[in-house]
């Protein structure tokens, strides 16, 4: 099929897509956007988290055909411009919330989704919101720090 899809604000037409391949495959293998990671392919790990029409989803659980005519924002689309980082990304760097880095893009999108909807999340809310994102290195403490920091920075920027 010819997949018509908006990604990070840009309209794309992708030919010879098979309706059953995943949105994640389209992003990584057909469009050269490797930010979204392919880890479990079961929706368990959240490494492929992207926005689909404004809601955070696992790109590995979306069939390409389902993404037809929709809008996707990937981790590559969060920063305001080339060479810049989004405040959530800055917070992950500042907190040292990254070890091997494989889970980071998915966590950044999930954290972005959390702080834009809830600028003052409790620790319990952060844990539940990130329940679908697995990290096998950090033990999550630095990630919690990063999300708290991102939320505080977002509030400050908004105030």
């Amino acid at each position: 099929m010819r997949l018509t899809i908006q990604i990070n604000g840009e309209q794309h037409q992708v030919d010879d897509v098979w309706a059953g391949e995943s949105l994640l495959y389209v992003l990584r293998e057909r469009l050269g956007l490797p930010g979204s990671k392919n880890a479990c392919e079961q929706g368990e790990c959240g490494s492929c988290t992207v926005y689909l029409d404004g809601t955070a989803v696992c790109a590995c659980l979306v069939a390409a055909g389902q993404a037809q005519d929709r809008e996707v924002v990937t981790v590559e689309g969060l920063a305001p411009g080339a060479g810049e980082l989004h405040p959530v990304q800055e917070a992950f760097l500042a907190a040292g919330a990254v070890q091997c880095g494989f889970c980071t893009p998915g966590l950044v999108v999930a954290a972005h989704n959390l702080v834009r909807r809830n600028p003052e999340p409790s620790d319990a809310q952060i844990r539940e919101e990130l329940a679908g994102n697995l990290c096998r290195c950090t033990g999550y403490e630095k990630i919690m720090d990063a999300v708290r920091m991102a939320a505080a920075n977002t509030q400050e920027a908004g105030a």
Binding site: M1, W18, A19, G20, S22, E41, Q42, G43, G46, T49, L52, T55, A56, V57, C58, C60, L61, V62, A63, G65, Q66, Q68, A110, N113, R127, E128, E129, A131, G132, N133
Partner: protein, 323 residues
């Protein structure tokens, strides 16, 4: 993965027509279950119907105070009135999956999701549910996660939904549409027991699809609770869960409905436990009697014997922590 034809029917009639004429056709709603089942070769539809153009996402309040929820309404539903009048439904939804999956998964897809039985999900094992007549590896294998109620000698898989357990305690009805028009199926008849046809996972007839779920009006004096026990604090299927709905006049229980999750091939109504409560005060004695009665008829195996005690405890806790 087998190739399939993808259709986007423009209306319900077209969807029903395609489903009725092509028995290899399957519906895709959120896709959070079907996409992995297809990728792993467990389901191989020849045709897939994307229902997004059918609407079916609305929450419609009925004149009698009940509510109709569209089959394609997402599980991440954020509706103040629904949360106020049916907190049990919202609690069960929040207890399931992860935020990303709740955003995509739908009400219809949730109650139609396939079992998480590891033997069903791995094509190298025999499974009567996946491939009728081939045997059941779970019956001879590790039964730690398997059912303790309603099993047969062909299948002992567990129904994984939290939502369906809440719907069962609320006596919801499933609205369906098919070649013969619309009909409604009480939730307790929607999920068949495996018997000798474990591959039949719902009461849907050929060509039928779920269009919505209807919850009857909440009675006065109603309280409810959902307690789920799982391996970790979030994002895990239930080892045992209980949804309880109690209607009281003063201190006396007039109506009690208790449904169990994680322990049967369908949401399991614990009717013995319900009877232990009706006509009595809700106190330590009646709660103890109900939690003991909840496990009557259980047929555990060695590996899942622990679920018997878990059921007693989730029922006791759900009833003790009402209000």
């Amino acid at each position: 993965m087998r190739t399939f034809q993808l259709d986007r029917p423009g209306d319900l009639a077209e969807a029903v027509r395609i489903l009725a004429e092509d028995e290899g056709a399957r519906v895709i709603a959120g896709g959070t279950d079907l996409v992995t089942l297809m990728r792993d070769g467990i389901q191989q539809p020849s045709r897939v119907l994307d229902l997004r153009d059918l609407g079916l996402t609305e929450i419609e309040w009925q004149p009698d105070g009940g509510v109709r929820i569209g089959a394609l309404c997402p599980n991440a539903v954020d509706d103040r009135r629904l949360a106020a009048e049916y907190p049990l439904v919202v609690a069960a939804l929040r207890a399931g999956a992860s935020p990303q999956i709740r955003n995509m998964a739908t009400f219809g897809g949730n109650i139609l999701q396939q079992t998480r039985c590891a033997y069903y999900r791995l094509p190298e094992f025999a499974c009567n549910r996946r491939d009728p007549g081939t045997g059941c590896a779970a019956l001879r294998g590790d039964s730690a996660k398997q059912a303790i109620f309603g099993v047969s000698d062909t299948c002992n898989a567990v129904h994984p939904s939290d939502l369906a357990v809440a719907l069962s305690a609320l006596e919801a009805e499933v609205l369906v549409h098919g070649p013969a028009g619309a009909r409604r199926i009480p939730i307790r008849e929607f999920h068949p027991l495996p018997g000798d046809t474990p591959h039949r996972v719902s009461a849907l007839r050929d060509g039928e699809l779920v269009t919505g779920i209807e919850l009857p009006a909440a009675g006065r004096g109603r309280v409810s609770n959902y307690v789920k026990f799982r391996d970790r604090a979030s994002f895990a299927f239930a080892l045992a869960s209980a949804a309880v709905v109690i209607e009281r006049a003063g201190t006396v229980v007039l109506g009690a409905r208790i449904a169990l999750g994680g322990v049967a091939p369908k949401p399991w109504r614990a009717e013995h436990a319900e009877r232990a409560l009706v006509g009595n005060r809700l106190d330590e004695d009646s709660i103890a009697a109900a939690s003991a009665a909840a496990v009557r008829g259980a047929t555990p195996r060695k590996d899942n014997e622990y679920k018997v005690e878990l059921v007693r405890r989730v029922v006791r806790r759900a009833l003790s922590e009402l209000e």
